[in-house]
């Protein structure tokens, strides 16, 4: 057998070995996948000594695990041969019927046929991008934007263009200006990606007044809107806001998820899509995974049928509200030199660091101080965001949140000293366009 590879792998210089003989064979879309110093630092984030304000993990101890265990036991005992079998590519009909009831809470009127069940809404993002994006197509996303979505867009070689948001969400004027500019440059803008409610990471919500304006602009420029809404039911005050999809049936793909309102371990999300798009999504999903997990879908359908899921969500809202208050209170007390958003729901607040600090170069110090956060750069495709961090309050108890913020404030203060001494922040990475994807439990 010949040792000369016939594939395009790049052999090591004569006499040397590369530990990966396929180096050089990888597709262009894999080139951003690097071993990251920052990602490695997150390895300590899940240790109990560390207060992790990094992860977006829901507080599952709030679930009635005994009741769920009974329901799961019954499911496998009575319908095991269905639950453990392959299922439909579009997703189990009985779950899709339930999803209709859930999205109705946000004013969406649709049919079970309009729903495609996916392996978490992360897979929905992947499928949508796969069927719409050619390399070089533009995806417009908020600045900042969900790290997991940016990773998907990059992996399909989209050009990501950010549009600013403020305390009322995506800024319509800025969107219009950007789309006008991109059109003038002759670039193909395919998608507008937005998290309208309790934004990840910014913590803000798109105002009701802006929603139709955003849709009108997108329609005028022929851009399909991806409405990613995992947190919509986790608002702290009042009823859920009407979804963008409730205002526009054809121009919006709505992505929903059970990960934040129930349990991410099942990996079940969904898309509500217009007919033609949905057909393509189903085919794309079948080619990727054949079908979403039947066991997970039927487990969730059973949960929705036998447990008081709305009451559970109400409990979660109270729990997360208390934690939000703990975090905002602690920030006011310990970190007056920073500023932050006050979310009305969801899991995150977006903190602007005092001038001159770099959230990435500060991370090792935070690890030493036993507190973790996600540097703002993770939420931009263009290397900006180093002056921000995302803090999550969903998982630690209020007491731990206060302790975490106290430690974080100490880190900020020590880093400020350092920056003051040297008149510059650190330079942690040469390539500022790397998406520092922090891994599933932190996304």
């Amino acid at each position: 057998m010949s040792t000369t590879p016939t594939h395009p792998a790049q052999p090591a210089p004569s006499g040397g070995t590369r530990l990966d003989p396929w180096f050089g064979a990888y597709a262009e879309r894999a080139h951003g996948m690097r071993a990251s110093e920052i990602r490695a630092l997150f390895a300590v984030a899940n240790r109990p000594e560390v207060v992790s304000l990094a992860g977006g993990m829901p507080y599952l101890e709030g679930l009635p695990l005994d009741t769920i265990a009974d329901a799961m036991q019954r499911l496998v005992a009575t319908r095991g041969t269905t639950a453990l079998q392959y299922g439909s590519g579009q997703g189990a009909e009985e779950l899709r019927e339930r999803i209709i009831d859930i999205v109705r809470l946000e004013g969406i009127d649709c049919h079970p046929d309009d729903v495609v069940v996916t392996t978490g809404s992360q897979q929905a993002l992947d499928l949508v991008t796969r069927i719409f994006i050619d390399p070089g197509d533009v995806v417009v996303a908020e600045a900042p934007s969900y790290v997991g979505a940016l990773g998907v867009f990059r992996s399909y070689q989209a050009d990501i263009v950010h549009v600013p948001l403020d305390e009322h969400g995506l800024v319509p004027e800025a969107l219009e200006e950007t789309l006008t500019r991109l059109a003038a440059e002759g670039r193909r803008v395919k998608l507008l990606y937005t998290v309208p409610n309790f934004h990840n990471p910014a913590g803000v919500t798109m105002s009701l007044e802006r929603r139709p304006r955003i849709l009108e602009i997108a329609q005028r420029f022929g851009v399909l809107v991806i409405e990613d809404n995992p947190y919509g039911l986790l608002g702290f005050d009042g009823d859920p806001l009407p979804a963008l999809r409730s205002l526009d049936d054809d121009g919006v793909l709505y992505l929903g998820s059970f990960s934040k309102t129930f349990a991410p371990g099942y990996r079940v999300g969904w898309v509500v899509a217009p007919h033609a798009v949905r057909e393509k999504l189903v085919l794309a999903s079948e080619s990727a995974i054949l079908c979403p997990s039947n066991a997970s879908q039927l487990a969730i359908a059973t949960y929705l049928e036998t447990c008081d899921w709305q009451g559970q969500i109400k409990q979660f809202r109270e729990l997360y509200r208390e934690r939000r208050d703990a975090m905002i209170g602690a920030l006011s007390e310990h970190l007056p030199s920073a500023s932050w958003t006050v979310p009305d729901g969801g899991f995150y607040t977006w903190v602007k660091l005092p001038d001159g600090l770099d959230a990435r170069s500060m991370l090792p110090r935070a690890v030493t101080a036993r507190v973790a956060y996600v540097p703002g750069t993770a939420f931009y495709a263009d290397g900006s965001g180093a002056d921000h961090v995302r803090l999550s309050y969903c998982f630690p108890t209020p007491e731990r949140i206060r302790e975490g913020v106290r430690r974080f404030a100490g880190v900020v203060s020590a880093e400020r000293d350092l920056v003051e001494i040297f008149g510059t922040s650190g330079a942690p990475d040469s390539d500022l366009t790397d998406v520092e994807n922090p891994g599933p439990n932190l996304a």
Binding site: L19, P21, S36, P48, M362, G426, S430
Partner: protein, 370 residues
């Protein structure tokens, strides 16, 4: 079992055979240096005279910046030792560790902790308190090796070259002002410089500085990892890592691994397989290779290291090795240098690790304490 495709394994095997051949051709190695075939023989001979160890606990993880690397090292070594028939438990360092160790009473503990507490000797202190045998260097020598400045001073006194350097605490820059101090550093050491935390590994917080104006950023990056910075002259040359293993007749160097990257040998280059090319043995003349091996063994001895170590050296154009730093718990991941060197020497990792474990029974440091 590795997930490498079969044909890749073939490739590697061919590569390995070739490597061993080359090493044999170069067989000029100094007395203490392992010549591959002899090493294998020595290993098996040593085995029969060493105590049979069955139960080993590997410590991996911890709270250091290198937790991730440590976990991977721990898994790899555990796998190899299990393959060699040992009963291996991998434990993280947490509040339950001591009670678990006290209950399990393993014959040998192998601390595969990288970074603080793992390499600075403190965990080793505690293992000694429990009266357990462990792999590797004792606490005091670990502390010396972990402190790069101390290690450099010790090897310098032993006649080994090491780049001129200065260590500076963060507080000094506050007192004297950053720019005057940095100007003095550049004035004395020149450029290029390497800035690194005085304690730490995996190239975390390390920057190669070629322009004076980049120095402040490098300092900030470094001080994020620790309060003491080591700034040293960047020596141009071939970067090699030399692993040293204690045998029954003293420490021996494994073939030097030469590292060639398309950029700095930073975190990504270390742990992203493929970005780096390794040459084992290093592309050095036989005389220089012997000198490099001897240097690593001398450093190992001078620093009082035990069991195993890995020295990172730069070989300049004159063939002179310059000591950069030493690791008392060298990385053992799938991309790490120690296992590569062992494999290039024709050693089976399971056999080698078992031998290292067996030799740790009745470790001298414990005898001294007891």
């Amino acid at each position: 079992m590795s997930t490498t495709p079969a044909h890749t394994s073939t490739l590697q095997n061919v590569e390995r055979t070739k490597t061993v051949g080359t090493a044999a051709e170069n067989a000029i190695l100094a007395e203490d240096v392992v010549e591959p075939d002899a090493a294998t023989t020595a290993g098996s001979v040593a085995d029969s005279s060493l105590p049979e160890v069955q139960r080993v606990v590997i410590l991996a993880g911890g709270l250091s910046h290198e937790r991730d690397v440590s976990l991977r090292s721990g898994r790899r070594v555990a796998e190899s030792l299990r393959g060699a028939g040992l009963d291996v438990t991998v434990l993280d360092v947490d509040a339950s560790l001591l009670s678990t160790l006290a209950a399990e009473r393993p014959e040998v503990v192998w601390p595969l902790l990288h970074g603080a507490s793992g390499e600075d000797g403190s965990v080793r202190d505690v293992i000694e308190l429990l009266g357990l045998d462990y792999v590797g260097t004792g606490p005091r020598a670990s502390r010396g090796a972990w402190n790069k400045a101390i290690a450099k001073n010790v090897v310098l006194a032993a006649g080994i070259d090491t780049p001129d350097y200065v260590t500076l605490p963060q507080s000094l820059f506050r007192e004297l002002g950053a720019q005057p101090v940095l100007d003095a550093v550049v004035g004395r050491l020149g450029l290029p410089l390497v800035v690194k935390p005085n304690q730490g590994g995996s190239a975390l917080g390390v920057t190669l500085v070629t322009r004076a104006e980049d120095l402040p950023r490098a300092m900030v990056d470094c001080f994020s990892y620790g309060d003491l910075a080591l700034i040293e002259k960047a020596v141009q040359g071939v970067e090699v890592a030399v692993s040293v293993v204690d045998g029954t007749d003293g420490p021996r160097a494994l073939p030097a691994v030469e590292i060639e990257t398309d950029g700095p040998y930073d975190y990504d280059a270390r742990y992203n397989p493929g970005r780096t090319s390794y040459f084992t043995p290093a592309r050095l003349t036989s005389a220089v290779a012997a000198r490099v091996a001897q240097t690593a063994v001398d450093a190992h001895v001078a620093l009082g290291l035990r069991g195993l170590s890995r020295s990172d050296l730069i070989v300049d154009s004159e063939g002179v090795p310059h000591f950069l730093e030493v690791n008392v718990a060298p990385g053992m991941t799938e991309t790490s240098l120690f296992p590569q060197a062992a494999q290039a020497a024709g050693l089976d990792l399971g056999d080698l690790y078992r031998q290292i474990v067996s030799q740790s029974v009745g470790s001298p440091a414990r005898a001294a304490t007891a």
